[in-house]
Symmetry: C2
Subunit: 96 residues, 2 copies
């Protein structure tokens, strides 16, 4: 599945509810999912980890939709080289 | 671009560095990017918003890779129906 296809699927299924909730509260929900992912990675089952990862991705994509950001476009720009250092692979994605 | 393709591209480019940094510190970096996205949505330019959205997506995908989660598989499971309420569209994704 293409990222764009998933984003469109999300918009068709949840777009109306997401717009009613608004970008700020949707961001809050996303952050809640980030917390759930953290907990699942620490002590969850494999199924819970995959589930929470999918939730976090889905809510992040909803944030993109509400902001009019095409998720695939954003990823493709990322893949073209780091926007900060203009290198690919990015030279500023250091350890740590 | 398929989600899986992007995840493989990320692994090839950043996998070694990500593994050296480890899952916990990588999660910290992801959360930092979530903060930057929040700020960009509030007062950033269009370019900054797209950039920070791409960063947040990319770091979330790195977390998935470190946990052995296939991002595309996770999204496709999500698209098959909410794992909590087993309905598609999800009936538990309420407003707010």
């Amino acid at each position: 599945m293409e990222v764009r296809e998933f984003q469109r699927w999300m918009e068709a299924r949840y777009g109306k509810r997401d717009r009613r909730r608004g970008p700020d509260r949707t961001f809050c929900w996303f952050v809640e999912e980030v917390g759930e992912l953290s907990r699942a990675l620490r002590k969850g089952t494999r199924e819970e980890q995959i589930h929470e990862f999918g939730d976090a991705m889905a809510w992040l994509i909803s944030i993109g939709s509400l902001a009019g950001i095409d998720a695939q476009d954003a990823l493709e720009r990322y893949a073209k080289g780091c926007p900060k250092c203009a290198a690919s692979p990015c030279a500023c994605r250091f350890v740590p």
